[in-house]
């Protein structure tokens, strides 16, 4: 479900800024392997180009190498809110269909 991937990535940045691998773990911890590395970074790239997220490098001396952190922009927050609504409608609809099927 391709639209869901974008929703998941944006949602993972709601509470805090995160770097790529963190986003990957956060999502896959909840949903199993729905997103691969080869999909995530191009997606983040596109989201940044579209102005939905912004990034900055942090030199993390403890870890020994820098990391690129992402966070939502205003645009991104708006988009996320819209996608959340759409998802709610969608999943309610699907649930209704499933219940209808079970009761026939």
């Amino acid at each position: 479900m391709k639209g869901a991937t974008e929703l998941a990535v944006l949602a993972s940045l709601t509470a805090q800024e995160r770097y790529g691998l963190e986003i990957l773990h956060a999502i896959n911890a909840c949903v199993g392997d729905i997103i691969s590395v080869g999909t995530l970074y191009p997606l983040l790239n596109r989201l940044e180009r579209d102005g939905k997220v912004t990034s900055h490098w942090v030199e993390e001396v403890r870890v020994g190498h820098p990391r690129k952190y992402y966070r939502l922009t205003e645009d991104g927050t708006e988009l996320l809110a819209r996608m959340r609504e759409e998802w709610k409608v969608f999943s309610t609809g699907i649930t209704r269909v499933l219940q209808g099927g079970a009761s026939s």
């Binding site: 970074y41 191009p42 030199e59 190498h65």
Partner: protein, 219 residues
């Protein structure tokens, strides 16, 4: 670079440490991967390309750090071939550039590429479907021969004006020769089998390339 030296929470020593170990922390196979990736991304402006390489390096360093059980080979398998990984990034970039340029020519070219893939896929499918109908047709002929021996055959007109596998009505029958007789059955089945095997192999490659196209499509 002065900003780095001004940071309060980092000592100069610490900064020097990460600079000197950054590139050496990766085994050769990973540095080789990054070089291939850089080469595949040569179309991108150098700043953007550098960002991507640095982020990929950072990702790999994270994967292989601390208590990691991941081998370099496993990490690379996750990323896929550098050329494929670069493709996803490049296509996205090209479309953005075309859109930003406002140039009708650039946008048409990108659209043509994307549509062209689909048109090519459509025609590829038509060809495969046609080949399979041939297989079916030949098999049907082989099956019908024992049932309608006088109407089914490899027919040649006496005056050489026609040559075909198929059904002939009784009115036209006198003007044609049945070239194969009952040999039509093994001949048709043999051609159908070879055609079937060849077409199925083509179909497998076709479907494989379709899947690659589908996976590259942005959400």
């Amino acid at each position: 670079m002065e900003g780095l030296l001004n940071r309060d929470h980092e000592s100069l020593a610490g900064w020097c440490l990460f600079v000197s170990t950054g590139k050496e922390m990766l085994p050769n196979v990973l540095n080789a991967y990054l070089r291939r990736l850089r080469w595949s991304l040569s179309e991108l402006p150098s700043e953007e390309r550098q960002e991507i390489i640095e982020e990929t390096r950072s990702y790999l360093q994270d994967l292989l750090g601390d208590a990691s059980a991941v081998t370099p080979e496993q990490a690379l398998r996750e990323l896929g071939r550098p050329e494929d990984y670069a493709q996803a990034l490049l296509e996205s970039h090209r479309i953005s550039v075309a859109l930003a340029s406002g140039s009708a020519v650039m946008m048409l070219r990108q659209s043509a590429k994307l549509v062209g893939q689909r048109v090519a896929a459509f025609f590829g499918f038509l060809v495969l479907a046609t080949l399979y109908s041939l297989v079916l047709g030949l098999t049907i002929l082989a099956v019908l021969k024992p049932i309608l021996p006088e109407s089914i055959g490899l027919w040649r007109a006496h005056d050489g004006s026609a040559l075909f596998f198929g059904f002939l009505d009784s009115a036209s029958r006198p003007h044609y020769t049945d070239l194969l007789g009952y040999w039509l059955i093994p001949v048709c089945l043999a051609i159908a089998s070879i055609l079937y095997l060849g077409t199925t192999r083509l179909l497998r490659r076709f479907l494989g390339s379709l899947r690659r196209q589908v996976e590259k499509t942005p959400p």
